[in-house]
């Protein structure tokens, strides 16, 4: 049984605007999955569905065999503990009026997780490489890369099984991207990531498995190496051809 199982998932705003159509995928613990697609391919909507922030029009998402039920308060509490997320824009994903300590501690407090909050926050901050005095400072005192580290610390502080990462490096400059990718790679030993991105190179670095999305469907999926060296679907080929390469 897969850790996350998505079956025949659909999402539409009304009869005409279908964002996700009959999408199925599965995810194993310990094997990062990259979901690649262009803007408008439905990546972010899929992520919202996976986070239980939106209701699917059809199909289901299950975690360890249990169907994701956003109306079941107790189930959602357990689900939130196991599934966390990092967002694209580190400037708007941190509350400017909260000290870093409170930002990172939010999942622990909200989910009433019975741990030493100060210790858990300090551990998460160390794990993402934040300076020791960060806790009492505010987001505006940090650079984009540092802010993304704070967001990652918040995502891992409750020790989830899965972290969904939505375009986590696209708002950062190139040298910072490399540091964040290295960090995610280091963290992959204890957390499974679903990396959603338009950047194939990033996904290739982090994820052994890849799924290519086009217009709300997965058109090709499998081991990353295999898909990239031998793309079958024309959309994958086009996507690969349009990826700019650094010399």
């Amino acid at each position: 049984m897969s850790f996350i199982q998505v079956e025949n998932l659909s999402f539409r705003y009304d009869q005409t605007r279908t964002i996700i159509e009959d999408l199925s995928l599965s995810l194993e613990k310990g094997r990062n999955l990259g979901i690649v697609g262009e803007s408008g391919s439905g990546k972010t909507t899929l992520l919202r569905l996976l986070l239980g922030l939106a209701q699917p029009s059809a199909g289901s998402i299950s975690i360890d065999g249990q169907v994701l039920d956003t109306k079941n308060w107790q189930f959602m509490r357990d689900f939130r503990r196991r599934v966390q997320a990092v967002f694209q824009d580190p400037y708007s994903s941190l509350d400017p009026r909260q000290a870093i300590f409170d930002i990172v501690a939010e999942p622990l407090r909200a989910l009433k997780i019975d741990v030493d909050v100060a210790k858990a926050v300090a551990e998460a901050a160390t794990a993402v490489g934040l300076p020791a005095d960060a806790a009492q400072r505010y987001p505006h005192e940090f650079s984009g890369g540092q802010r993304q580290r704070i967001a990652i610390a918040r995502a891992i502080v409750a020790r989830p099984d899965l972290v969904l990462a939505d375009e986590v490096v696209s708002a950062l400059d190139l040298s910072t991207r490399i540091l964040i990718v290295d960090l995610l790679k280091a963290l992959s030993t204890s957390v499974t990531f679903v990396v959603v991105s338009h950047d194939i190179a990033l996904v290739a670095l982090l994820c052994p498995d890849i799924a290519i999305m086009e217009k709300g469907r997965i058109v090709e999926s499998g081991p990353t190496e295999h898909v990239l060296s031998n793309p079958v679907h024309p959309y994958t080929r086009r996507l690969l051809a349009s990826t700019p390469r650094l010399p």
Binding site: R77, S93, P96, Q98, P107, P131, A132, Y138, E141, L179
Partner: protein, 288 residues
């Protein structure tokens, strides 16, 4: 999992210090002075406010700092009491207005699209009516003119402005990623409102509440001027102005003194508001 990233700033590179803005000090002093005067009148006044203690329309002197009115009552005493009434009505009206306005504005921001549109239209229509007109209607409808009806009337009249502002501010905060992050972190909607929404909107809100305070003090004076505020012998600044109107050319100080008191209170509130906002905003703290 220990990393030493290159973009880690030195821990001592930035230290943060809260600098108290000048406007906060000046505004606080002015409002504090009014507050002190108001509180003082509960315990002590230079003269009995209704006692005829001097000549009619006397010039300011050592005995009567602001002169006397046409009945020979001490004006300075009445201005001190006026400060108390202005502060009572101002704070009462702001409390009423903020209570109604913030609640309705937040509800509107969370409501479905149709309901939100109805709320927004209602706020806009209410704002289109002059505050004073609404207040007059409420005072007239309640058939009595007292401090309490003045507070209620000015508060309700001002609540639409606060509601509209709150709605816009809350909607802006709700669209931020940190709200989604809070939901993913497991926070409930009530805790999101108190932990993320209100702290992020209050700096803007407080400026407007202080502004409303000044406007409420002015509205109270206007209502009293029209005879719809605190009934005599309550020494409201508005009533003092109205009484001084007939003799403004022969004894101008009777109008200047309460006018000055009102203007300084409003300026003080505005300065205080601006200073508070600057002080509360972490992004405006000076780093050195």
């Amino acid at each position: 999992m220990s990393l030493t990233p290159a973009d880690t700033p030195q821990p001592t590179a930035i230290s943060v210090r809260r600098k108290i803005p000048l406007s906060l000090i000046v505004g606080g002093l002015i409002v504090g002075l009014h507050l002190l005067a108001g509180i003082l009148t509960i315990l002590w006044t230079p003269y009995e406010p209704t006692a005829m203690v001097g000549g009619r329309l006397a010039e300011p002197s050592i005995a009567h700092w602001a002169g006397t009115d046409r009945l020979g009552r001490d004006l300075f005493t009445q201005i001190l009491i006026g400060a108390r009434i202005a502060l009572e009505v101002g704070s009462g009206a702001v409390l009423v207005g903020a209570g109604i306005g913030i609640t309705l504005g937040t509800l509107a921001a969370f409501a479905t699209r149709t309901l939100d549109d109805v709320f927004a239209a209602a706020f806009d229509i209410l704002i289109a009516f002059p505050t004073l007109l609404v207040a007059m209607l409420i005072v007239t409808a309640s058939q009595t003119a007292s401090l309490f009806t003045a507070v209620l009337a000015i508060g309700i009249a001002g609540s639409a402005i606060i509601a509209r502002l709150t709605r816009i501010l809350v909607k802006r905060v709700l669209s931020m990623d940190y709200i989604v992050a809070a939901r993913v972190a497991g926070s409930s909607w009530p805790s999101i409102v108190f932990v993320h929404v209100l702290p992020n909107i209050w700096p803007t809100l407080i400026v407007n509440l202080a502004l409303q305070f000044g406007l409420a003090a002015m509205a109270e004076s206007s209502l009293s001027y029209l005879g719809l505020g605190a009934p005599p012998p309550n020494a409201s600044w508005g009533r003092l102005l109205q009484e001084a109107q007939g003799t403004v050319y022969t004894a101008p100080f009777g109008a200047i003194a309460p006018g000055l008191a009102l203007v300084t209170l409003v300026i003080g509130m505005n300065l205080l508001a601006d200073g508070l906002r600057a002080f509360a905003d972490p992004t405006r703290r000076r780093s050195r």
